[in-house]
Every structure is written in C-alpha cells, then in structure tokens.
Amino acid sequence: MIIVALLMATQVAVQDPRLERLDPETRIAVSGVIDSARSAGLPSEPLVQRALEGVTKGAAGTRIVTAVRRLSSDLATARGALGTSASTPELEAGVAALRAGATPQLLAHLRDVRKPPLTMALSVLADLVAGGVPPDSAAAAILVLAPKARDADLVEFRRAVERDIALGAPPGAATSVRVNAGAETPNSLQSGPPGNTPPPSRRP
C-alpha cells in the first residue's frame, strides 16, 4: 500500500495540478520542459512558478513556454557553475546573476571564495545591476566583499549603494566608494561568521 501511495504521489508531482491554469497546448509544452529539467536533475519548482507568473499576467502561451525553456537552460548553466550541490535558491539567484551580466566563471569563483549558501551574494549582485550599477563593477564589488561579509552586510551594502545613487551619485562610483568604505570598517563587514547570518531586517 505504501508503494501504491508513493506511486500516486509521484504521479501527483508529475502532473502538477497547478499547471491546469495553463491552456492545454501550453500545459503540454511546459510539462515537457519541466520533465526534461527534472530528468536532468534540475529543480522544477522555479519553472512551475515562472509558468504561473505568465498565466496570471495574461501572457500568451508561446511567451510562457519560451520563458520556462529559457529559465531551464539558465538553471542548467548556473548549476554547471555552482556545482551539483547547489541548492534551489542558490540556482535561482545564480540565474538572476547570470542574467544581470555575470559570467559562469564569476559564479564559480564566488563559490570558491565564499561559504554556502551563496544565495544572498548572487542576489545582491543581480540587484545592484538592476539598480543601474555596471555589471563589471557589481561583480568586482561582490568578489571583494564575498569572502568575509555576512548576508546582512551584503544587504546593507546594496541599500547604501542604492541610497547614494538616488542622491545622484554615479552607480559605478557609488559602488566602489562603498566597497572601500566597507573595507575600512572592520566592525561592519568583517565580523562574525561569513555567509550564514540571516538579514537583520524583515523588509524586502
């Protein structure tokens, strides 16, 4: 009976009922991409969420399939750079960093210099670029900070750069100034165990 229950559970996972919100043609195509990703050892949940985002936003089926397929490909690239032990959040953040302009080599380098999880470091990199910081400047800053900064320090670094940009500072200059300021403030960026501290704030 347990075996039967497990088989039923597996079937539930394969035919994710959430995908019933997609039209039949799109659902078949998206399910195919998800099945392939799962076979390759990639996480399926981010793909499901991207499809659901598309359908909730009223996107055309072809656009949803394209987005899911592209995400699957980027997840594979991120995993190639971060390693097979990378968690789903790390892979998702890795995709964001790649799309922000980081190279797979940079992701691999980050993995070498920082203890896991890398989720926050990769996310901050992507967020800096989204905020106008040139990808090279953002990548250089994260590589400098990554070995010792805590997750909370990285979040505060991003906010400080965003504040400076909002006040009129050139994004690249704001980033480099804040990196140097952090390097000169041992209590801010060089205390505590690296990489394993949740952010102090509960706001996005």
């Binding site: 009976m1 347990i2 229950a5 497990l6 039923m8 559970a9 597996t10 539930v12 996972a13 994710d16 959430r18 949940e45 981010p46 969420q49 659901l52 985002e53 598309g54 359908v55 909730t56 936003k57 996107a59 656009r63 394209t66 987005a67 592209r70 968690s87 789903t88 959040p89 998702e92 953040a93 964001a96 799309r99 922000a100 896991p116 999880p117 989720t119 926050m120 990769l122 996310s123 901050v124 992507a126 967020d127 670029v129 989204a130 905020g131 997750d151 909370a152 979040v155 991003r158 394993n196 501290t197 949740p198 952010p199 509960r202 706001r203 996005p204």
Partner: protein
C-alpha cells in the same frame, strides 16, 4: 501640511514593516486547549496499522507534491506594503503563493496596504495587483530586471542556511 502627511504615512509604513512578534508558547497553548476539549479524541476507530499506513501515504504525497513545504520551519515573516490611496483592492502575488491573487489579499489602513507572508530562504519574484488589473512593482524593493511578461515585478531575497 502635505509633507507632514507624507511623514505620517512613512511612519506608518515603518511600523508595518517591523517583524511580527509571535508568542513562542502559542502552539503549545493551542494544542493544550484542543486536548482538553471534550470529545477531542473521538473518531480514531481505525485500526492503528492502517492509520499508520494512511499517515505515511499522506506524508509522502505532501512531501513529493510540495517540496517547498519542507523549508517552512526556517521561514521568516516578511511584511509587504504598498501606498495606494485610490485603490479598491490590492493583492500580493509571487513565487511564494503560486501567483494566485486570491491567496494574499492585502488590508488597507487609509490607503496603506499591507500583508505579511512567511518565506523560507530563497529569492522570490513578486508584484502587486491593484484593482485586479494593474501590475505594480514594489517601490521599496529591487526590481526584477528580467521580466519576460511585460509587467513590472520586484524581488526579495531571504537569507539563511543551506536548505
């Protein structure tokens, strides 16, 4: 006068964004109340062997079908706020609620809409749906630069240990 009003709104937002303190003993008290309710143990007439199998089956289905539920124990409670005085309804939708507008409706206090969601460590895309038709990014959060569906979204990252 206008500046003073904005200052008040800003202070309200700051208050709404503060972590919600939940009494750690709440679960224990609730379970104690349930245990003391008369007739609370009725209905367990199933043979224990079959009950165990049924429980195992249900657990297996939950774990396989909803892998993220395994991370809930390390989730943080985050508050999301949008100032939209003219809105009749605002929903929070994102990777954490299957992009379902019905799952996280927001409540308003004089045009300041807010809701709280428990999130496990990870990076999440989300947006506000105003009046059921208008998509808005969170002005207080980084934007999702790779939006592929033509509407704005934001991202929130919750730090934590490897899951």
């Amino acid at each position: 006068m206008f500046d003073r009003h904005e200052d008040v709104v800003e202070r309200v937002i700051q208050q709404l964004r503060r972590p919600v303190a939940i009494d750690p003993g709440l679960d224990a008290r609730v379970m104690r109340e349930i245990a003391q309710t008369p007739g609370g143990s009725r209905g367990w007439r199933v043979w224990p062997y079959w009950a165990s199998l049924a429980a195992a089956a249900v657990l297996a289905i939950v774990l396989v079908a909803h892998p993220r539920s395994r991370q809930r124990e390390s989730a943080d409670l985050l508050q999301f706020v949008l100032v939209a005085p003219q809105a009749a309804s605002v929903s929070l939708v994102g990777d954490f609620n299957d992009w379902d507008p019905a799952r996280s409706p927001m409540r308003t206090a004089q045009g300041v809409w807010a809701t709280a969601v428990r999130l496990a460590p990870g990076r999440y895309r989300y947006a506000f749906l105003v009046n059921g038709v208008e998509w808005r990014a969170d002005p207080a959060a980084p934007s999702a630069k790779d939006d592929e569906f033509g509407t704005p979204s934001s991202v929130v990252t919750v730090g934590g240990k490897r899951s």
